[in-house]
Subunit: 347 residues, 2 copies
DNA sequence: CGAATCTGAAGATACGCATTATCAGAAGGA
DNA sequence: TCCTTCTGATAATGCGTATCTTCAGATTCG
């Protein structure tokens, strides 16, 4: 259906310059040697013709001829540009854009991917995936079968977020949550806290399991005793804190902490004076009672940059040799001590 | 350089099914009639082979063969995904994504476009523009020559923002600022104000000229007298208000008003009690002394949706008939009366 | 029963570009 | 002079798909 206006081709340039299409191609790509030689005089003549006709290469033809396209795909399992997603995707997309700009890549967003049982799917009859040289995958919920197919087809891609649960070797760049979670727990313990509550969303993602694992480890090792609480029981928190004697509440992310604080203050509990709080996620911009919330600073821009760097490496490397590469990269979050974990003087 | 893993082609399917590549193509596209007939039996056999080999069409080849790609380009003259641009681009991109998702289009962001004297340029030797079926242009500063070239090449595109200054007929979707500006000025006049200051950024864009024009018209017609002030003289505003007897300050956008208010309060002037303020732009989320700022609600998501709708129309129409189309669409901003234009009781 | 028509499909070609192989003519060597 | 080497370029080919044309064999018509 698309109207196809005539555009300048190499053949037209060739006619204007009185040479063959081959010669034009060679001049355009500055190719020399390898059985082909074009003297400076001819070269100049062709270049002049190119300028005159404002030639622009057809990317589809280039692609079909086996060259790279300088396009990378961005696949998100949910809408990426909606205000709600911006919290999460914003810094990532920003990092991707900056990195792509630097190395001259365009970004293809697979917004068209049809939604099947809740998430978008990458493979469909008309997927434009192969127009790209490689692909970045974002999102909480990735479909394992699609990751495996990408690996099987030896398609260069990088997932953002830990993906070590699938059988296949999925290249990814992820935040390490174990280290900072442990650090934050130790901070609370050092402040004199002994009993805590952990509020989580009950999701089963690698990142969620990491955090939970670090929490349970701390509990098991006696550094800080935890009771795990699902988000649906936030209203019940004041009572639970009372019952367990918990003096600090840690939640999976900062938004959850907002809800927690709301529930506590509604019940007449002072935060953070009576009960300390912290989040195991990005806390930039979150303040509790005017005080900066304790938690992490997640380097999301850097995460994105790292992902594109890895992707670039994959694209430049023959698939056979991928196994020799370091396909998994981990970044540490900085711990933000904040001011919402108060020192507990022994009663 | 891109590694090119082998992929399933129509030829392979053909071999498996014992038919020709032509037949496979016909079955894939459900083409029938027009000199080509495939009986149901053969059709089924081919379809089975397609399923078995998990065929996915190569978009580059499709494109080269003259079909549409279901990709539209998104070109911004500055970085689109940075936190600073999000204020402006965010709602637009969101609208574009939603509209694209609805009609099954992918989005190609031209992040690679090289920066030449301050802005990105759309046409360069390797532009991937032609991979798309059409293109949306965003940004304050567009290059007239590029717009004209797009028109000349009969490439389907739509600009967001008014672009009627160029000679060529540029299709665009824009906000009408004249009507709401006039409305806001009349609101101030009705509240008893007689003398005003207009703070602007001194930019020469169509939208800026529209606003300025409406301001000057109001002044000329005696509805409200204005003194125009460049943003560099914001520090001087308290004195200017004193000197002119102005009781209301209108600025080009809400961020400018923030600066204005800052200067005024620093000089001991109460806002809005002593001097009213309003912005000729989006005011969502902007509050002055706890009161909602008077100004506009710019329907940016809708603007984007309208742009894609127009683009779709262009793509579906033969370029020869574009001249019969309504290529320019205008949307009204809603006026937000706010609470920062106070009624002035005659002294 | 020969000619016209219909059926089902394959062959050839185009799209624009890169690349490989080829080739005519000039220059150099014996 | 004849053979080799070098120079400067061209023709041919392939990439994967869609489409236009052709065609053999079966069927129907007169």
């Amino acid at each position: 259906m698309a109207p196809k206006p005539r555009r300048v081709t190499q053949r037209e340039i060739a006619e204007l310059a009185g040479v063959s299409q081959t010669t034009v191609s060679v001049v355009l790509n500055d190719r020399d040697g390898g059985g082909v030689r074009i003297p400076e005089a001819t070269r100049a003549r062709v270049k002049k013709a190119i300028e005159q006709l404002t030639y622009v290469a057809d990317p589809a033809a280039r692609r079909l001829a086996g060259l790279d396209n300088q396009i990378i795909g961005v696949f998100t399992y949910e809408a990426a540009l909606s205000p709600e997603s911006m919290d999460f995707y914003g810094p990532l997309l920003n990092g991707i854009e900056r990195a792509a700009e630097k190395i001259g890549w365009d970004l293809l967003f697979f917004t068209s991917s049809p939604v099947e049982n809740g998430t978008r799917s990458l493979f469909h009859r008309k997927t434009r995936l192969r127009l790209t040289d490689g692909c970045v995958l974002l999102g909480q919920q990735m479909v394992a079968s699609e990751l495996e197919r990408l690996v099987a087809e030896q398609f260069p891609f990088v997932a953002i977020g830990r993906r070590d649960e699938t059988a296949a070797a999925v290249p990814y760049v992820a935040i390490d949550y174990v280290t900072p979670t442990t650090a934050l727990i130790d901070q609370a313990a050092a402040a004199g806290h002994q009993q805590a509550l952990y509020v989580h969303r009950g999701r089963d993602t690698p990142a969620a399991r990491d955090r939970r694992g670090a929490v349970e480890a701390a509990s098991a090792e006696g550094r800080l005793a935890f009771l795990l609480v699902g988000e649906e029981r936030i209203g019940d928190l004041p009572r639970l804190a009372q019952a367990t004697g918990a003096t600090v509440i840690i939640a999976e992310d900062a938004f959850l902490i907002e809800d927690v604080v709301h529930a506590l203050t509604a019940a007449g509990v002072a935060v953070p004076d009576e009960i300390s709080v912290a989040a195991l996620g990005e806390v930039r911009g979150h303040r509790i009672d005017g005080k900066p919330l304790a938690g992490f600073h997640v380097p999301r821009e850097q995460l994105a940059a790292e992902a594109l760097d890895l992707l670039q490496l994959l694209i430049a490397t023959e698939p056979d040799e991928w196994s020799t590469l370091e396909l998994r990269r981990h970044l540490d979050s900085d711990v933000e001590p904040g001011a919402t974990i108060v020192v507990r003087t022994e009663a």
